[in-house]
């Protein structure tokens, strides 16, 4: 993207950070260079930004590095999370199997109940139908 620079003689102070950072396109950078040759105010601004950059980079360079053992802690965290996920999956799998077993038992339970003779309570329900005893006709002969 080309930053807007309407007039050659207009101050370019807002472009200076990007100019110093090498983030301006070639044409804009050239125009900034040309302007700096003739404008003392903008050269002063440029020096001020250079000082800010120096301060930032100097302070950053003197910062300490992270512990050399940091990756060990990272792997420990990753392994612990993987283990927890595996455990959760295992619990879910067991729960699912139990559910399957239970749901398969339901028709059997129903069947079993249907087979059971109901208890007769006088005045509340009818007595269960008496099964006819098979007649032993063999004795007649």
């Amino acid at each position: 993207m080309m930053p807007r620079m309407s007039q050659k003689n207009q101050h370019i102070s807002d472009l200076l950070p990007a100019y110093l950072n090498g983030r301006l396109d070639a044409a804009s950078a050239e125009r900034v260079r040309e302007h700096l040759e003739t404008c003392g105010d903008c050269r002063h601004e440029l020096s001020a930004w250079e000082a800010v950059i120096n301060a930032t980079r100097l302070a950053s360079a003197s910062m300490s590095a992270p512990s050399p053992m940091l990756m060990n802690a990272v792997w420990a965290k990753i392994d612990a999370q993987d283990k927890a996920i595996a455990q959760q999956k295992s619990i879910k799998r067991v729960a699912y199997h139990l559910w399957l077993v239970f749901t398969r038992q339901i028709p059997l339970i129903h069947k079993d109940r249907a087979r059971k003779p109901r208890t007769f309570m006088p005045g509340r329900n009818r007595p269960p139908p008496q099964r006819k005893q098979p007649t032993d006709n063999s004795s007649q002969w």
Partner: protein, 193 residues
């Protein structure tokens, strides 16, 4: 693509390859990524918290998050921008969990923006050590913007993406950071007299 003073130059193809390897569960690839970006990420995190131990904890969480979400990297931004974005989110989560203050951005912008720009702006004449010391006294919000632009050498657009603010805010933030730096130096000068 900004390479900054820490990260070694890498091509977009390399970046996508390393994230694909991580997504496939290659532990060596995460180690390579860490070796390449550890200082850049750690330096960035130290701008958000002065606590070395906490910064290390956030860096660990950042790498765990990278391990889990490497498959989401599409190469739309540079790997460095993507990593700093993750580090920033992890930092904000951790700081919130520890109930540590996160700078009120709106208030910070308002306070600094009202300060007039000194006419005789002589930052360039101040010795580097003093400047670096003054930089350390800046608010995390200002240090963060300056480091992203001038150390990681990110563009305004990349910085705006990471900070989740418009490009105009990034520009005003680094100008405010410069004013704040001036104010710190003035205060030190006054204290000396």
């Amino acid at each position: 693509m900004g390479m900054g003073m820490y990260a070694q130059p890498v091509t977009a193809v390399d970046e996508r390859q390393i994230t694909r390897r991580i997504a496939a569960g290659d532990r060596e690839a995460l180690g390579e990524l860490y070796a390449r970006y550890q200082r850049a990420l750690f330096n960035y995190l130290l701008q958000l918290t002065p606590d070395y131990g906490l910064a290390e904890e956030i860096l660990q969480d950042t790498l765990v998050a990278v391990w889990k979400s490497a498959h989401r990297f599409e190469g739309r931004s540079s790997l460095q921008t993507w990593l700093i974005g993750i580090a920033r989110r992890q930092a904000h989560n951790t700081l919130r969990q520890h109930k540590l203050p996160i700078a009120d951005e709106t208030e910070m912008e308002r306070l600094v923006a009202t300060e007039p720009e000194p006419e005789a702006f002589t930052l360039a004449s101040i010795v580097r050590d003093e400047l670096a010391e003054a930089f350390r006294q800046l608010a995390p919000l200002h240090r963060e913007a300056l480091v992203l632009i001038f150390v990681h050498e990110l563009s305004y657009q990349e910085t705006a993406t990471i900070l989740d603010v418009p490009v105009g805010t990034v520009k005003s933030r680094i100008c405010n950071a410069r004013r704040a730096l001036r104010a710190v130096l003035d205060a030190r000068e006054e204290a000396r007299q």
